[in-house]
């Protein structure tokens, strides 16, 4: 057969790797700032775009989509070409993939701190950016499938299957979870409400972890671990079983994020059952990765790449054992909303994704630059300081999580809570937050050392350029199975059929989760007292979304005695029917807010937003002074209500037409209540006297804080009104 010459595209791999390193430092640094904000809540005082609630989604998005996303693309573009003996299908699509992805990251880095957010976790970006993500992802998929079709290696190695499953599933997840109705260019409401929105979000959230952070990295493991160890994968049989059972089972496990919620019991239990089953394929993969290194453990002692891989795969094994454990109802009752979850995700992100990325960079950069790593000593130092960083991050967070959970649940003999003041449970874990910040700092220091090491390596190496290769073209063998050919062997050379089967595998599990989502009637159980928000409350809710309050405060009281005593009546599905999007939250850095309405007076809320420590000594909530001074933007109020009406919220035409006058009346009432506080009235009068004539002066009733107070005072009160009557 005639040999064909072609060039591997190394330049695109280089670009993605450099972007990985850059965004890695950015994402981790934002995380470190956040870690220090637990200790010094007001270090970014008065700067809205650097406030905790806005930086938190920036951190998660930067680490997941910018750092890990670029690493994923870089690793896939390198290994895919070699495994298929072909250059990427289209240089243009590669460029669209790279530059499009970086533009999306920049758009995210600007829009999230400015407060443009949907508030759905790991899907915070507003709808135009969501569309851009879908387009760039499709460009990546076409480029990959095009390369597969013009390949010179008939059999698709297992890593390629993982890449195919990644492409298909992430596309499905992203599109369904991001369905939203736009109000304007940068504001939209989720088409799902309440319980349904929560289900779709966690079906997405769970499987984004599965198919963005796990399957592509397993593909990378199956390629790069054998390459670095110079040994084939331990068991190819195991890898086939690993692949199919992993993608099949993963997609079912999403409901374990919603235990003790309004989800039907059979769906919760199905989620738990599949989560426990997930241990088998996950550990199969881990064992396959680690046993590939059997016989080369002497090399592991000296080769930093292999060291990083060992810790990465071990981290994968730990996180995937812990995940199913956390999905057990009894453990979930303790761990959910606590720092345990933070420890869990960071073992996954720092060890599995981070360390595998570092391993790939240490292996790939010298290889592409045709030189040796500048300093093995520095890489070893990076390994040890990074590992220490992970340990110092994770262990304090486990201790903190368990401490929180037990303090939240402890009762006196007379039936009252031992730690009735939530702040007591915060003060207790501050030392843990210190250790976490130190652990995170060590991890970043390691990453910076790696960048220096790689910079020096590239400087002495040859410039990275496309690599010439040759391989025979594929003989045409026909689409049917050959005589004696096994089904799976046939499948391995038929990428389209493989893709279709993988799609079917993920859709079966996906549908089973979506069907109950659709089955939960939005008005079951009907609670006639639950009414839509007033225009002012709706605006207040959008401020709550803008400031990312959901990062620290849940709005989901589980049916436990400890929660009912602390927060009030437990949550009912019927209370959330107008919640586009849902705001249940996943973490309680502060207390739950579902029943905060009417708990304090209006003046308390104003003082609390202006200076949280004045009303709540020892609080780690940052201040929100801009809410007190900013003018409320009501230009979109009518448009927002119209969109809500289209999504099924029963606003009548009359409600919408009289919205602004209703809003004014409600604002006026809150203003008058605030001015009853003589101290505040005096300071406001003084401000009015000094500034009254100026254009900058915003009358109190037109300020954002009024809408925020209106929303907070409404929260969870519909049900208590029902009781009173």
């Amino acid at each position: 057969m005639e040999l064909q010459q072609f060039k591997y595209d190394n330049l695109i791999v280089k670009k993605f790797l450099y972007a990985t390193l850059l965004w890695g430092i950015v994402g981790m640094s934002v995380g470190l700032i956040l870690a220090f904000m637990f200790l010094f809540p007001n270090i970014t005082e008065g700067i809205p775009w650097l406030s905790f609630g806005r930086l938190r989604p920036l951190h998660t998005n930067a680490v997941i989509f910018a750092f890990i996303g670029n690493a994923l693309f870089g690793g896939v573009y390198y290994s895919l070409q070699r495994l298929l003996k072909a250059r990427m299908y289209s240089n243009f699509l590669s460029a669209v993939n790279f530059w499009g992805w970086q533009l999306i990251i920049v758009a995210a880095a600007l829009s999230i701190p400015l407060g443009y957010t949907t508030s759905k976790e790991y899907a915070e970006l507003e709808w135009p950016i969501d569309i851009a993500i879908a387009l760039v992802w499709v460009a990546f998929g076409i480029n990959m499938i095009g390369t597969i079709l013009k390949r010179r290696q008939r059999h698709l190695y297992v890593a390629v299957w993982f890449y195919i499953a990644t492409f298909v599933t992430v596309a499905v997840l992203h599109i369904f979870n991001s369905l939203a109705y736009p109000v304007s260019l940068l504001k939209s409401y989720s088409v799902y409400a309440g319980v349904q929105d929560a289900l779709v979000q966690w079906w997405y959230g769970h499987n984004a972890v599965a198919f963005f952070l796990t399957t592509p990295f397993l593909g990378l493991m199956y390629y790069f671990v054998p390459k670095a160890a110079h040994r084939p994968i331990y068991s190819y049989r195991l890898s086939i079983v690993h692949f199919w059972s992993l993608i099949f089972i993963y997609i079912w496990a999403g409901p374990h994020h919603l235990l003790y919620s309004a989800l039907p019991d059979w769906a919760q239990n199905l989620g738990v059952a599949f989560s426990v089953m997930l241990i088998a394929p996950s550990w199969g993969g881990m064992i396959n990765g680690l046993l590939t290194l059997r016989g080369v453990w002497d090399k592991v002692r000296t080769d930093p790449t292999l060291k990083f891989m060992v810790v990465a795969i071990t981290g994968y094994g730990m996180a995937t054992l812990e995940g199913p454990l956390l999905s057990l109802k009894s453990i979930n009752a303790i761990a959910h909303f606590s720092d345990w979850v933070i420890a869990h995700v960071h073992v996954g992100a720092l060890a599995w994704n981070g360390f595998l990325t570092f391993a790939i960079a240490y292996w790939l950069i010298p290889k592409m630059a045709k030189t040796k790593l500048y300093s093995t000593g520095l890489a070893n130092f990076h390994f040890w300081i990074g590992t220490l960083g992970i340990v110092l991050y994770a262990i304090p967070m486990y201790i903190s999580g368990v401490t929180q959970a037990f303090m939240w649940k402890q009762f006196n003999p007379d039936g009252t809570l031992v730690y009735g003041n939530f702040l007591e449970t915060v003060a207790q874990i501050i030392p843990m937050y210190w250790m976490r910040a130190i652990g995170g700092s060590l991890y970043i220091l390691g990453a910076i050392i790696m960048i220096y090491n790689i910079y020096k390596t590239i400087k002495v190496g040859s410039p990275i350029e496309d690599e010439l290769a040759e391989a025979p073209a594929l003989e045409v063998v026909g689409g049917r199975r050959l005589i004696g050919e096994k089904f799976h062997a046939w499948l391995e050379r038929k990428p389209i059929q493989l893709t279709l089967l993988a799609t079917v595998a993920i859709l079966i599990g996906g549908l089973v989760q979506i069907i109950p989502t659709l089955l939960v009637k939005s008005n079951i159980p009907t609670i006639s007292y639950v009414k839509p928000y007033t225009p002012l409350e709706l605006e207040g809710r959008d401020l709550y979304i803008r400031e990312g309050c959901v990062s620290c405060h849940s709005q989901m009281i589980r049916p436990f005695r400890s929660e009912v005593v602390r927060y009030g009546e437990y949550s009912k599905a019927g209370e959330y029917v107008y919640e586009h999007p849902f705001l249940w939250g996943s973490k309680r850095i502060g207390p739950d807010l579902l029943r905060v309405g009417q708990k304090y007076n209006d003046a308390w809320h104003l003082n609390h937003m202006y200076d949280p420590q004045s009303t709540s000594p020892g609080s780690i909530m940052p201040s929100y002074p801009w809410l007190i001074t900013n003018e409320l933007d009501t230009r979109q109020t009518l448009a927002k209500m119209k969109v809500m009406a289209k999504l099924g919220v029963p606003y009548t035409d009359e409600d919408i037409n009289s919205a602004l006058s209703h809003l004014e009346q409600q604002s006026e009432a809150i203003k008058n209540r605030l001015l009853e506080d003589p101290q505040f009235a005096a300071s406001y009068k003084q401000e009015e006297a000094e500034m009254g004539g100026s254009e900058d002066f915003v009358p109190l009733n037109n300020r954002e804080i009024i809408a925020m107070i209106a929303y907070l005072q409404r929260l969870g009160t519909d049900i208590s009104q029902a009781k009173n009557k």
Binding site: H155, P232, L518
Partner: protein, 61 residues
Amino acid sequence: MKFIKGHLESIDGIAIYPIISLVIFTLFFVLLFARVVLYKKEHLEFLKKIPLTEDENTIVS
């Protein structure tokens, strides 16, 4: 959404679908497992080595 929802609710015994899915998964898994066990050893050895043989194709300039 409402359109789809109405129709799904009207299906009798919709809870049977997840059970069917579970059965499909179990059958699929058992068949896959059987196939994998019966795989020819030589073919597996060939597949395993795919990532390691690619360097032979690279022309060092």
